[in-house]
Symmetry: C2
Subunit: 138 residues, 2 copies
Amino acid sequence: MSDLLERLRGRGWRMTAQRRVVAEVLDGEHVHLTADEVHARAVDKLPEISRATVYNTLGELVTLGEVLEVATDKRAKRYDPNAHQPHHHLVCARCGAIRDVHPTGNPLADLPDSERFGFTVSDVEVTYRGTCPNCATA
Amino acid sequence: MSDLLERLRGRGWRMTAQRRVVAEVLDGEHVHLTADEVHARAVDKLPEISRATVYNTLGELVTLGEVLEVATDKRAKRYDPNAHQPHHHLVCARCGAIRDVHPTGNPLADLPDSERFGFTVSDVEVTYRGTCPNCATA
DNA sequence: TCCTACAATGGACAATGTCTAAGTCAAGCA
DNA sequence: TGCTTGACTTAGACATTGTCCATTGTAGGA
Ligand SMILES: [Mn+2]
Ligand SMILES: [Mn+2]
Ligand SMILES: [Zn+2]
Ligand SMILES: [Zn+2]
């Protein structure tokens, strides 16, 4: 994600080896890692990087809107670099595999006023659950 | 929820003061407490109840399908006694208030085969986010 | 090259959740 | 009613996830 690094430089970020490595780890499709998974992969590339730095960097990326936090499992937060294309998630209940999906329709329109309790509703997250092909054959 | 207690007795549960108190705490509408919130309220009614028992009891209720785990916030799991009426959630991004909602339509039908990656999809959770009336005026 | 404000580090601490060994008691039975 | 027993509860250790801070290091401009 060199374009991510470009944007961050433009926002006044100091470009450190640690931040480059975190950005590198987050690169790719269908990436939804926990903070400690990011840390483990970052350590492979830069052994002395600390947990605190990984947590700090992820938090900053979330604040800047460059990475999303998703709560697809009920344990640790997961970090999603696919922040600029709205999407939802499909999760394997067995192994935890996560895919980005793009359902048709607009779920926001499916919530009638009578079900809004006076809230201003601005966003919706949809999580599909099922069994992935791998786990189905096992 | 005396019907809940009835069902549990039918399933061979020993009826202890601790389990009665946990069931009592979970009674009501729009209830979505964390384990430690359940524990705090249980202690008001039965001061010597332990955290371990609350965690155990909640886990058993989830296994039996009498209570659902929901991941509406990205911290602790929340426990939802409204397990027998399918519903979704509306969450205040500011204060965390949670309401049960019943959107129209069927989001499962909105996920085309081409977006299923070979998964068998069995369930869908929808979380609406916004601002509650209380937080809007503040 | 030097300065300095920003960033990284290690470790303490907090919050949430899991596990176990030992003691307790609900419920069936004599 | 009073045993007996295995299910249940308890306290606290431990694990995982996340936050904070004092100290040390360094990116990038002067
Ligand atoms: Mn995603
Ligand atoms: Mn609910
Ligand atoms: Zn799977
Ligand atoms: Zn609110």
